[in-house]
Structure formats: C-alpha cells, structure tokens
Amino acid sequence: MSSSSVLFDAPGPRAKRLYAAVGVGSIVVLLLILWFVIDKFNAKDQLTAAKWKPFLTGEIWTQYLIPGLVGTLIAAAISVVFAMLVGVLLGVGRLSTQAWVRWPSSVIVEFFRAVPVLLMMLFTYALYANYEVFPPERLALAAVVTGLTLYNGSVVAELVRSGVYSLPKGQGEAAMAIGLTSGKSMRLILLPQAITAMLPAIVGQLVVILKDTALGYIITYEELLRKAEQIGNFTSNLLPALIVVGAIFVIVNYLLSLAAQRVERMMRRRGRSAGGPLTADPTDQNAAIGAFAGAGASDTVDTN
C-alpha cells in the first residue's frame, strides 16, 4: 500500500467525530469478545494459576519447550540447506538450453508444487520405514526433511527462474558477446545476480519452512507442537501449552519476516544485482508464486 490515505480525505470535524465513534465502538466490541473468551476460559478453569504457573518453572522449558524448539529449528535448518541445493539445480535445469534437462526439471517442479507437503511426508515416512533406510529414531526427522525439501526445493527453483528472468537481457547477451558458453554465463554472470536478488524471498521462505515443520506432529516428529501436547499430558494444561507454543511460533516467525524486510532494504540500497530484489510473502506454502508474479515490484504482497 503506497498509502492508505488515498482512499479517504483528511477528516473534517464531522468525520473526526465519526471515526472516533467507530473507533470507540470497535474497542467496545473487541472488549466484549475478549470478555466472552475470558469468561469461557474461566468457566472451564483454564485461567487458574495452576494451569499457567508451570511455564514459570525451569523444568517445562528445559524438558519440553527448548527441546521442542530445537527439534523444530533442526528440521527447518536441514530442510533449508537441502531445499537450496535442490532448488538451484532444478531452477538452472529449467533454464537449460537442453530440452532433455529442461523438461524433466519442469515436470518435477510442477509436480512437487501441486502435491501437499503432508502427502509427501506420509509417503516418505512409509517408504523409509518399509525399506529401513534410516534408524527408527531418525525416521520422522528424515521424512519431515524430505517432504519439506521436495516442496521448498521446487519453490526455490521457481525463485531462481524468476530471479534470472528479472535480470536485464543485456547481462546474458554481454556474457555471450565475450564468448562464455551458456553454462558459464549461467554460473558466472546470471546465477550470482539472481541469487542476490532472491535473498529476501528466500529468507521469507524460511518462515514457510519453519511453520511447515509443525506438520511433523502428524508423523510423530518431536517438535514444538508435539511437546505442547506432552506438556498438556504432564501438567494437564493443554490449552495454555498450545497458546504458549503458538506465541513462540509467532515470535520466531515474526522476527524472520522482519529479517526478510531488512535484507530487502539492504539490497535495494546496495544494488549489487542488475535486477531489483524479489519479494515474497514470507508466509504460507506457496510463497514463491507471489514472488514471480511480482518480480521486482516491491510491494506486491501476493500471498501464499
């Protein structure tokens, strides 16, 4: 939004009164909703000190929350590394001049973007279990990482492609003019600039990966959500545990989104790439679709 004030005039005295009235009215409605929620919580004894106090003890943090956060972060970190590798390979593959490289890469990317991550996790979990690829205690982690890598790898591949497309044509032409082969031009000229342009979108994709690790809950991976359930069983305060874990997710992801915005601003200032920085909505599963729809345009907040 360039500025929302385009939609309305600077308020005069009457409009000011109206806005104030609407403002007060909405605060009242908000308070009513809040009161209703609190009342509901109270009626079910969810607000008693016994339910919330455990979160002030060290044990809950050292036994559950921190190991859960570590599990979440480990799965996310491994997936990011693999997704980058897979993504750059597939992205370059899709841009290849050789049809026999280009077509399979395209099919793989489109396929893994169309299939739900959960389906891939369930499948790889069954696959690894049947063929005993990983030791049992690593099974869930391996399935989570594989699912996230395949999906986010194809998202990164699309980012690479849109990053290369966003570069001015002269870059590739100049590389050709000085006699570089198409492979060299990709490796030495286009890819470095494309990756720089992609950086904000990739940091944004981190949020998606981090959120999606919670799918691991379904295949019994020990991440934050699973730990919340265990806390609930341990101190019988499931609802507060879910709320605390939700807050942890929101804080971590919000910090990551802020980092993505900072990286983008930094790159806009430094301008190391011939194309503008790509932005993606740092959120849900298909972040990159937004990114290539709005390649270069900074405030396209395409979703998903």
């Binding site: 939609l7 509901k40 389906l119 609802l239 989104s257 909505d281 979703t303 998903n304």
Partner: protein, 229 residues
C-alpha cells in the same frame, strides 16, 4: 493393478477426495468473507480497526496451520466445550471434526485472502479513489463502488494461489480425524506396504487434477477480467 480397484471399492477414495473438495470450498467461502472484512479494516481510516486487522494478519500468518487445526479440536472442543454439531446426532464426531476443520482452515487462510485483496487494492490507480472522493463519495461508498470491484479483479491471481494452497492444506484436517484424501492414503499405505509407490501416485495425481485446473482457470480469469487501463 488391483490397488487401483481397491482405491475405488474398498477405500472409497472418491469419497475421500469429495471430502477434500467440500472442506476446500466451504473454507474458501468463509475465508473470502473474513479476509475481505479484515482487508477493509486494514485500509479503513479508523486507527483501531487498522491495528486489529494488522494484528490478525500478523498473528495468524505466523502460526502453523497444524497448530490452528489442533487448537480447534483439542482447545475449542475438548477443553472449552465448543461443539459445532448436534450432540445427539449419530454422526456427531464426524460432523463436529469436519466443521472445526473448516473453522481452522478459514481463519488461517483469511489472513492470506486479506493480503491478496490488499495487493489488489494496490493495483487500483490513485486517480480512481481520488475521482470517487471528488464526486463526494464517503469512504465506504468509495470502497464499494469504485475501489473494491477493481481490487477483486486485480487480486484474482493471488486469490487463485490462496485457493490452491487451501486445497493442499486441507490435508492437515486429517490430524483431527477428518477422513479426507491424506487420511485414506495413510490407511492404504499401512495396509498395503508393498505398493506404496502406486498408492502415493494415485493420491498425488488426484491433487494434481484438483489444483492444476484451478491454476489455469485463475490465470486465464485474471487476464480476461483485468481492468483495461
């Protein structure tokens, strides 16, 4: 290829995909409603509404969907006793889980819808809103008659992306026992570990069939319905 016939007869795979489609469509309608309201709040002249809208989007977008859905079941239903179906009905558990999943999916995707619509509002040229104000339309009428109709047409492509994501994310509903596609796939894989590749292939193709046409349709619609400027 007896797995394929088992998919249709024994496991009623079509019914599973029908559940996926119902989940998706119901949640899409609800998410569109909530998302539009949130988007309007975010561009409104009232500061309080802006703050509420922004807070909603930032909190919901940064929470994992799995947590939202688990919260709907374990939190809303089991802990707080919020039931969305008739308790005396035979199908209470199924109905209730399905509706809780719809609530979770809608609340989650509404934040993305709101962002999509806001990006649509960004595609409307300044002159449009200025002209609307110049002829004396107040804020809500400016939105309703001038800005939003164009914004929706500008937001078709991102809204299509939300719908595709919603279709895929509806699989998460299996975590609270809704028997949609991924739940049935899991059962099939457990019963037939010898043919998991075929099973995965069937379900993956099912999702490709569901999502590809949506992508094609929304892309063509976004071009056809684009506001000529």
């Amino acid at each position: 290829m007896d797995v394929i016939s088992e998919f249709f007869s024994e496991y009623d795979g079509l019914q599973a995909f029908r559940t996926t489609i119902y989940l998706t469509l119901l949640s899409a309608v609800l998410a569109l409603l909530i998302g539009t309201v949130v988007a309007v709040m975010r561009v409104s002249p009232v500061r309080v509404l802006q703050v509420i809208g922004t807070a909603y989007v930032n909190i919901v977008r940064n929470t994992p969907l799995t947590l939202v859905i688990v919260f709907c079941n374990l939190g809303l239903f089991l802990q707080l006793g919020v039931a969305l179906a008739n308790k005396d009905s035979n199908t209470f558990i199924n109905d209730n889980n399905f509706r809780l999943a719809v609530v979770g999916l809608s609340v989650y995707h509404a934040s993305f819808v709101a962002e999509a619509i806001r990006s649509g509002v960004n595609t409307v040229p300044l002159g449009q809103a200025e002209a609307a104000r110049a002829i004396g339309l107040p804020f809500l009428k400016t939105l309703r008659y001038v800005v939003l109709p164009q914004a929706f047409r500008g937001a078709i492509a991102p809204l299509g992306n939300v719908l595709i994501a919603l279709t895929k994310n509806s699989t998460v509903a299996s975590v609270i026992g809704v028997t949609e596609a991924s739940a049935v796939m899991k059962v099939m894989m457990e019963n037939r570990p010898d043919v998991i590749f075929v099973v995965f292939g069937i379900f993956a193709i099912g999702f490709v069939i569901l999502t590809l046409p949506v992508g094609v349709l929304f892309t063509s619609m976004s071009k056809r319905l684009a506001v000529k400027r």
